[in-house]
């Protein structure tokens, strides 16, 4: 809040109230997102932030208007540091959380103060009920924020925050903050109030409105990114299905060729010159061997997927081994098998292609029964660091927005069967592990 400009006898919000509100609002994302430090370190950091914020805000309580912006922005900086060093989210997301927390705190403190003002009938009084109001209002408002945020998040969809989004958020927060505090600086504008209670009401309402806009905007963004993701997953599914159809066609062609050649061999047997004949036969059989269906996992679809990937593996000298009992996958839909194994293999192939030494291009696949589960694992040698955030590997590709969907769609598909996907990196091997309860 801006310093004591008012001549009225009723005080403005005490600075430590503001500090506490800002701190509470900053704690919300700390519990909403995964943390990257231990509990003890986090608790110490949070406590230090609270003390620093309070000291700073109380200390700068009487500064002239000219420098108030600094006084207001420094606690935001402290929030940024706390979130940046303890929470496992991107910088832009941290900025976004800070701006949101700032506005949330403004509203929280403002509402609380207004209620205190109302209870005391406009007379300044510091007594026990103040604390009850403080706890009740801060608690309720924080609870509501928490519920709204929790509900808005859908499944695994992460909020995408780019420069554009940050700018829009900044605009919303800045507008709300300006209007809410206008009356404290200039009383002679169309949007200012002159009576203290009006000023307080204007502040609370405009902070509330700002918050509503922010939430509407956030909800919309969640929806858009969920939709985008879903459509990408859908297109992926179709692509996988199409490629499966291709594999089938190729297999049919091979089978046809196989039979054709057989007839030809029969014809050749009628060849008179025995030497010529045997030479031809040998040659044709050699050709046939190349067409012989190679994979036998006990599941046609899985065979198809593997056959489709084989040319690539051969071309790039990838050593691919596979111990897979495909018959375990009977209960799965064709497209799902394609999605899971197609994507996982594509991912592994893409990874090992980057390895310069062909000896190290190793991919291993396993599908086996483990107790009452079907266990599948696709692992590949990997000589670079892979970070796993929120349970998902972070894509190493530059075009991050459009990648990582293969991984997402594996997870999406496995979940349909109440299964779990786990990504791990150990001893230079990256592995995708899938566990699905048997039907």
């Amino acid at each position: 809040m801006i310093g004591e400009v008012l001549t009225d006898d009723y005080q403005n919000i005490p600075r430590y109230y503001t500090a506490l509100a800002e701190w509470i609002c900053c704690m919300l994302p700390c519990f909403f997102y995964p943390r990257k430090v231990g509990k003890a370190r986090f608790a110490i950091a949070a406590l230090c932030t609270l003390i620093l914020m309070t000291v700073w805000l109380v200390w700068t309580g009487d500064v002239p208007i000219q420098v108030w912006l600094l006084c207001v922005l420094l606690p935001v900086g402290m929030m940024f540091c706390l979130l940046y060093f303890t929470i496992d989210i991107s910088e832009k997301m941290v900025l976004y959380c800070c701006m949101k927390a700032f506005l949330s705190a403004e509203f929280m403190a403002s509402l609380e103060w207004q209620l205190e003002y109302f209870v005391h009938n406009g007379r300044e009084k510091r007594d026990f009920p103040n604390w009850i109001i403080l706890i009740l209002v801060y608690g309720t408002v924080a609870g509501i924020y928490w519920v709204i945020d929790k509900r808005m998040k859908r499944g695994d969809t992460e909020l995408e925050v780019g420069n554009k989004e940050l700018f829009s958020t900044l605009l919303i927060v800045a507008c709300a903050y300006t209007i809410s505090n206008l009356s404290f600086v200039y009383q002679n504008t169309p949007f200012s109030g002159t009576i203290l209670s009006d000023i307080f009401t204007i502040r609370t309402l405009s902070d509330c409105a700002g918050h509503a806009i922010l939430y509407a905007y956030q909800s919309l963004r969640y929806e858009v990114s969920a939709e985008k993701e879903l459509s990408k997953i859908q297109s992926m599914l179709t692509a996988q299905y199409d490629s499966y159809r291709n594999y089938q066609e190729v297999t049919d062609l091979i089978n046809m060729k196989y039979h054709d050649l057989k007839h030809q061999i029969a014809g050749l047997r009628a060849e008179q010159d025995p030497q010529k004949r045997s030479l031809w036969i040998d040659q044709m059989e050699g050709e046939l061997a190349a067409y012989q269906p190679e994979r036998q996992t006990g599941n046609q679809v899985l065979d198809g997927v593997l056959d489709g990937k084989m040319p690539l593996m051969h071309n790039y000298q990838i050593e691919f081994t596979c111990v897979a009992d495909g018959s375990l996958l009977k209960f799965m839909h064709v497209t799902d098998i394609c999605t899971i194994f197609g994507n996982a293999l594509d991912n592994a192939i893409e990874h090992v292609l980057l390895i310069l030494d062909p000896e190290k291009r190793i991919i291993h696949m396993e599908v086996s029964a483990r107790k009452q589960f079907v266990y599948a694992e696709i692992r590949n040698y990997c000589n670079q660091d892979v970070t796993i955030r929120n349970g998902f590997p972070i894509t190493t590709k530059k075009d991050a927005k459009n990648h990582g969907f293969g991984i997402k769609s594996i997870s999406y598909t496995v979940k349909k069967y109440n299964g779990t996907v786990q990504f791990g990196v150990k001893d230079h091997f990256f592995s995708i592990r899938i566990l699905i309860p048997k039907e």
Partner: protein, 234 residues
């Protein structure tokens, strides 16, 4: 000491594998004993069960690798079998004899060492980590692989083991700290389950030796992830 059986009829390949194992031994510092058989029927006839890992050629004169593996599996379900082959289509049916993996001929040292490394990690431990339980009647010695799950009851912990229940006055939190790194998971406030014995998951419960133990809702995802990881590493 790890015992590896090489079942390979071609002298040159057997020699190469032995050399690779020697090299691996030098690099990893593990001590390995190699026993050589020159055909499938040889190992099957004299099967002793002393091997940790069997490296088996698929194509052999008298008894092929698949048949030999089938015969071995009837007597030994634990031994780690790894095939050596130049035919991928055959080896892919390795799951029928629960083969872990296969090495493609011509064998490259790098791929072989990586696979051997993994095979060694897969060797089943004969006993888990030792555990000492202080009961009211004195000390009971057991090990982690004999414990199905640990249950908290008031101020006591009940160890459900292969030899029945053991009661100890201890805190769940301390037990959690001790057992989680050993492959246990706190599935809810009252249970610490050994992931080794989780047979299945049904209706929000994990099944251990026919008993359904509730997994708390908040831990369900973490439980499944931990179980998946456990399966991958064991």
């Amino acid at each position: 000491m790890i015992t590896i059986a090489i079942v390979e009829d071609e002298e040159a390949y057997a020699k190469q594998l032995t050399e690779y194992i020697e090299k691996y031994q030098r690099e990893s510092g593990k001590s390995i004993r190699v026993i050589r058989f020159s055909d499938g029927d040889e190992i099957v006839e004299k099967y002793t069960g002393e091997y940790d890992i069997i490296l088996m050629d698929i194509q052999m004169k008298f008894m092929d690798g698949m048949s030999a593996a089938e015969a071995i599996r009837k007597r030994d379900t634990k031994v780690v079998i790894m095939f050596i082959t130049n035919m991928t289509n055959y080896a892919i049916r390795g799951y029928e004899v629960d083969a872990m993996d296969y090495v493609l001929k011509p064998v490259s040292y790098f791929a072989f060492s990586q696979k051997l490394d993994r095979a060694i990690k897969r060797i089943p431990h004969k006993a888990g980590n030792p555990v000492i339980v202080n009961t009211a009647d004195g000390i009971v010695r057991t090990d982690t692989s004999s414990i199905y799950y640990i249950e908290s009851e008031g101020h006591n912990l009940i160890y459900h083991t292969t030899d029945g229940e053991i009661k100890e006055r201890a805190k769940m939190q301390d037990a959690e700290e001790k057992f989680v790194p050993l492959g246990f998971f706190r599935s809810n406030k009252g249970y610490l389950v050994n992931l080794e014995y989780v047979d299945g998951v049904k209706d929000g419960c994990c099944i251990i030796k026919g008993e359904a133990l509730l997994i708390s809702r908040a831990r369900r995802n973490d439980f499944m992830t931990a179980l998946t990881q456990y399966m991958g590493e064991h």
